[in-house]
Amino acid sequence: MQNKRMPQGGKACFHPDSAAAQGLLNCLVCHELVGDHEKRCPRCSTKLRARVNNSTQISFSLLLTALFLYIPANVYPIMITDMLGDRTQSTIIGGVILFLESESYFIAAVIFIASIIVPVGKMAAIAWLCYSVNRKKPIRKAELTQVYRITEFIGKWSMVDVFVVAILVALIQLGGLMSIQVGIAASAFAGVVILTMVSAHQFDTRILWDKMEDE
């Protein structure tokens, strides 16, 4: 029974300082620390595992899906503006360039950070985490946990772009004079945000600490 909850190789791959090596399990929902003879958390009855099974594989596959969705999110228009019969389609990067041309550097920067740097940076960070826990070399620094924390924290901020579109679409509906329609990229981009958030959430940070080198 014990081995079913252990990752490949049994107890030996836990870091000696970890709770799992001392026969304790941490509940991921209510953070209760219980002995490893328990199958379910006595407080919230969540299933307990020393390490989430296949957590890197799940994270990585979600990440790949997000990466593929990121292509239509950038290729197709996120917003279609009708102004006096004149139809303009704007992609995410097109919007940034538009603001650069009209010298609104601040807004350009905000949109660029929220819809390009944050999602790309986040995907790169998750990929790096997945790579680091799977290579043979031990992880030298505890900084990786901070990378994870930052990734988890900034995750929802890329939703800003979708919200901006939602507000503009609701607000600017003046019939033939000026109106804004949503583009297909909005759905794709929202999908990217959701998938990267779930991917980061699936990643079990405890495996990072298992590979920590002793200082």
């Binding site: 929902v29 209510c30 407080r43 009855s45």
Partner: protein, 186 residues
């Protein structure tokens, strides 16, 4: 974990320096009061008009709900559902569940499972995006402020107050405190 945490001091993880718990002398009353305030603000935000927009003699006023109903009307059901969940439903569920748990520690309410609510809170927390929506509104306003006259209405100001308040509640109610309340309420 120390039994007593000094008022307004943080307990951090010795390994990764992440804040695990926050000290507060009267957290239960404080958070319950904040929850009620936030719920009132949310009710105000939903019942009045949000932003008015006028350009070349044409005007349009929207309320908060139209930010997702308009997406729905254009056939983008998925995005519309997400916006509805992230800015309204999940924060609302969070506040209601939290208030229920706090009230259960004092009175025997008993018609909802407290542990289930605790799990609900733990699961919906990463998906409440009130503060992100607020930034989205500001960016949208900056985008259109040069081409039209914008009037900010009551509901907008209610949401401006609601978003930071919600973030503050989430900060005070750390996981440790939440589950201690759940234990008390059982």
């Amino acid at each position: 974990m120390p039994d007593k945490i000094e008022h307004r001091s943080n307990v951090v993880c010795p390994r990764c320096k992440h804040v695990i718990a926050v000290g507060h002398n009267n957290a239960k009353h404080y958070v319950l009061a904040l929850c009620v305030t936030a719920l009132i603000l949310l009710a105000v935000a939903c019942s009045f008009s949000f932003i008015s927009f006028a350009s070349n003699g044409q005007a349009r006023t929207i309320n908060l709900l139209q930010t997702f109903t308009e997406l729905y009307a254009q056939g983008y059901i998925f995005v519309s559902l997400l916006v509805f969940l992230f800015i309204l439903l999940l924060p609302l569920l969070y506040l209601l569940s939290l208030s229920y748990i706090i009230l259960s520690t004092r009175y025997r309410l008993g018609f909802l499972p407290v542990i289930g609510l605790g799990k609900v809170i733990s699961h919906i927390l990463p998906w409440s995006m009130a503060e992100v929506f607020l930034i989205g509104v500001l960016v949208a306003l900056i985008k259109i402020i040069s081409m039209a006259d914008i009037f900010l209405q009551a509901s907008f100001w209610a949401y401006v107050l609601f978003a930071p308040l919600f973030t503050h509640i989430v900060f005070i109610v750390d996981n440790h405190r939440l589950w201690r309340w759940v234990d008390d309420a059982k």
